[in-house]
């Protein structure tokens, strides 16, 4: 049977594990957009080639229909209102699902490193030492700080709260812990569900 148009693209099967939240519309709430971008930022600070890895995974998992290359990924991450070049476009639920899958897949690959950093941080904290004593951890923290400051709009109220190094380090460690939780078997579902805490009726 001849058809005039190609069949409608099916959503990737990998996204089926994530249930649609009970949102009133198809756009992600503000906190979810911030959280997804910050987790990606932490991955970039952990892995120098993190940006490339994100694109590679989207190709591997057949998510190219939702994350169409580098610029589109940048546009998606730009929906974070804290960004310097914040995009006014909304983040669709399907796009957010793709970002969740990318984050959790990368987090699983980085599990060993994340565990090492967290164990090291815990030991330093127990001895009342600053994170600078752990070379790899200090590296991660400084890279996260520079990424954050380069990309976030310092005049935003949400960014002003992280004006000091200490506050930014706290945020980086918190994101590291969250990345570890995302690395588990049920990480994607848990992260996805947590994005809408307090947003659903």
């Amino acid at each position: 049977m001849p058809v005039n148009s190609p069949p409608a693209p099916q959503p990737p099967l990998v996204l089926d594990t994530l249930d649609n939240p009970g949102l009133s519309n198809d756009e992600c709430p503000r906190r979810a957009r911030i959280q997804l971008d910050l987790l990606l930022l932490a991955i970039e600070a952990l892995d120098l080639s993190g940006g490339e890895a994100m694109l590679a995974i989207s190709r591997e998992l057949a998510l190219e229909g939702l994350v169409k290359g580098r610029v589109h990924l940048w546009l998606l991450r730009g929906t974070n209102p804290m960004r310097r070049y914040s995009q006014r476009r909304p983040l669709q639920v399907e796009e957010a699902k793709a970002l969740v899958i990318i984050i959790c897949t990368l987090a699983r690959r980085l599990t060993v490193l994340v565990r090492q950093l967290l164990v090291g941080y815990q030991q330093l904290a127990d001895k009342q030492l600053s994170p600078e004593h752990h070379f790899r951890l200090a590296d991660y923290l400084s890279r996260f700080r520079s990424h954050f400051r380069a990309r976030m709009n310092p005049r935003r109220a949400g960014v002003i709260a992280y004006s000091t190094d200490e506050k930014l380090d706290e945020l980086a460690i918190q994101l590291l812990q969250q990345l570890l939780l995302c690395a588990g078997v049920l990480g994607p579902q848990r992260l996805w569900s947590s994005l809408f805490d307090g947003e659903v009726s």
């Binding site: 249930d19 939240p21 009970g22 906190r31 959280q35 565990r115 967290l118 164990v119 941080y121 815990q122 904290a125 460690i173 812990q177 969250q178 570890l180 939780l181 995302c182 690395a183 588990g184 078997v185 049920l186 579902q189 848990r190 992260l191 996805w192 569900s193 947590s194 994005l195 809408f196 805490d197 307090g198 947003e199 659903v200 009726s201």
Partner: protein, 475 residues
């Protein structure tokens, strides 16, 4: 057949024992869970054990806490019974796993209750615990009915970031300030009302404007003021005394003889009582008094010189009623009396008729008209003349309703008298030009032989003057 399933991670070892559904198939799921054990090497040496209840509670607590770590939104525990397993955030990067352990098959009582087990977990240890639970949840061959239930926290259940105390603080502060202000103002005395004198008399505040006779003698001079004092005060007090009676002249007179008799005896009794202890005068002291309907002495004036000299020995200054607003004309009905204080110590009060008549008769009730003017042209001419006369003198009235008067005119056009027809007219008659228009000579001798005519005069609330013949316009 007993089956054991084990989920092992570096910091957590979760072991489940139960009966398999199918004895021949080693991979068949557990039909009954007998025991669940959780070892946390590195965190605690104790082994957390329990049945299905313990396992369910552990799964729920771990799932909820992990989601809380990811979102930062704490979800409240739903359900009535306290959970067996709780996880709470601790200081720094630590987490507290709290297990309320109870020995199996022993009823809960005061003697065997155990303190809850508190295990301090690092984030990595918690992750291993979570991962073990997640693997159990994802494993369809152990407990298929136990599956992951992810549900975002509802907006209704989100606890506000500010605690109740902090949110209630502004309201409490406001209430406290209000209470304090109320308490402070409670001790402030209410302001005392001081009536202000009208502008013309405020220039001489020391002199009481109402009754200058009682204030003009120097109080320091004692009970027997000298003749010199009196002569010096006389000139200054005279004009004001005249003004005093002027004020009272406009007041309507009491016409009822019984009321006057009652007032007479009442005033006599009060003066006699008040004068009992005073020194006796050398001669008769005669005063003219104006007494209101309720017996208040509104004003008085000496009738002979001795009376002026001895005024402080009489009770009149004490008994005189001082009005709030002296400039305001007296509107209540008054009666005039002559009070005579005799050297024998008696007080004689007699009503004054002649002078009061002159002021009161004009406004008194008009008798039935016998000789009416019948000439229509004359009535019209009188009507227009009266209208012009009143209008020439008319000033804005303070009336809030129409003032109706019946005005009687002689044939010559002189106003013989007037009579208020409604209550407002009686009160505000002094504001109208009518009292000034009355010709006194005619009222003194009511001449029934001369032709007169009645007219209705209405001062409307809006300030319009209406004059019409009492019996209607002539044909």
């Amino acid at each position: 057949m007993t089956v054991q399933r084990q989920y092992t991670l570096p910091h957590c070892n979760l072991v489940l024992e139960g009966l398999s559904a199918d004895a021949n198939d080693p991979l068949s799921p557990l039909a009954v869970l007998m025991n669940a054990e959780c070892h946390l090497p590195g965190a605690t040496d104790a082994t957390l054990t329990g049945g299905r209840e313990f396992l369910d509670s552990l799964v729920a607590a771990v799932s909820r806490y992990a989601q809380q770590l990811l979102s930062g939104v704490s979800s409240p525990h739903l359900g009535t019974a306290p959970p067996i397993v709780e996880i709470k955030p601790g200081e720094g990067a630590y987490h507290h796993l709290i297990v309320h352990q109870q020995p199996l098959r022993e009823p809960l009582s005061d003697t065997n209750v155990q303190p809850p087990l508190d295990v301090k977990l690092t984030t990595v240890q918690f992750y291993d615990l979570m991962e073990a639970v997640d693997q159990l949840l994802a494993d369809t061959q152990t407990l298929p009915d136990l599956t992951a239930q992810f549900q975002a926290v509802s907006r209704r259940l989100v606890q506000p970031t500010e605690p109740v105390v902090q949110r209630a603080a502004p309201a409490a502060l406001g209430a406290a300030v209000l209470a304090a202000a109320g308490l402070a103002l409670f001790f402030v005395p209410p302001p005392e009302f001081e009536p202000t004198r009208p502008g013309s008399e405020s220039a001489t505040p020391a002199e009481s404007s109402t009754n200058p006779l009682e204030t003009s003698p120097d109080p320091a001079a004692g009970e027997q003021p000298t003749e010199q004092d009196n002569s010096s005060t006389e000139p200054s007090s005279d004009p004001t005394a005249a003004a005093d009676l002027e004020r009272l002249k406009t007041a309507p007179a009491i016409a009822d003889a019984a009321t006057i008799a009652l007032l007479q005896s009442d005033v006599t009794r009060r003066l006699q009582e008040a004068w009992a202890d005073a020194p006796r005068p050398r001669g008769d002291l005669a005063y003219r008094m104006v007494v209101s309907e309720d017996g208040d002495i509104l004003g008085y004036k000496y009738e002979n010189d001795l009376a002026l000299a001895e005024v402080d020995n009489t009770p009149l200054p004490q008994l005189t009623f001082v009005p709030v607003d002296a400039a305001e004309p007296v509107r209540e009905q008054v009666a005039q009396f002559i009070a005579t204080f005799t050297p024998a110590g008696e007080v004689v009060v007699e009503p004054v008729d002649a002078p009061a008549e002159t002021t009161a008769a004009a406004a008194a009730e008009l008798s039935t008209l016998e000789n009416k003017i019948t000439d229509g042209d004359r009535i019209r001419a009188l009507n227009s003349a009266l209208y012009d006369d009143i209008l020439a003198e008319l000033e804005p009235l303070s009336a809030s309703e129409d003032l109706q008067f019946r005005v009687r005119l002689a044939e010559t056009g002189d106003v013989v008298g007037y009579e208020p027809l409604n209550a407002a007219a009686g009160l505000l008659a002094a504001e109208t030009p009518l009292p000034g228009l009355v010709t006194a000579s005619d009222s003194a001798a009511p001449d029934s032989d001369r032709n007169q005519a009645d007219f209705q005069v209405v001062f409307t609330e809006g300030g319009v003057l209406q004059v019409s013949p009492w019996d209607g316009w002539p044909q």
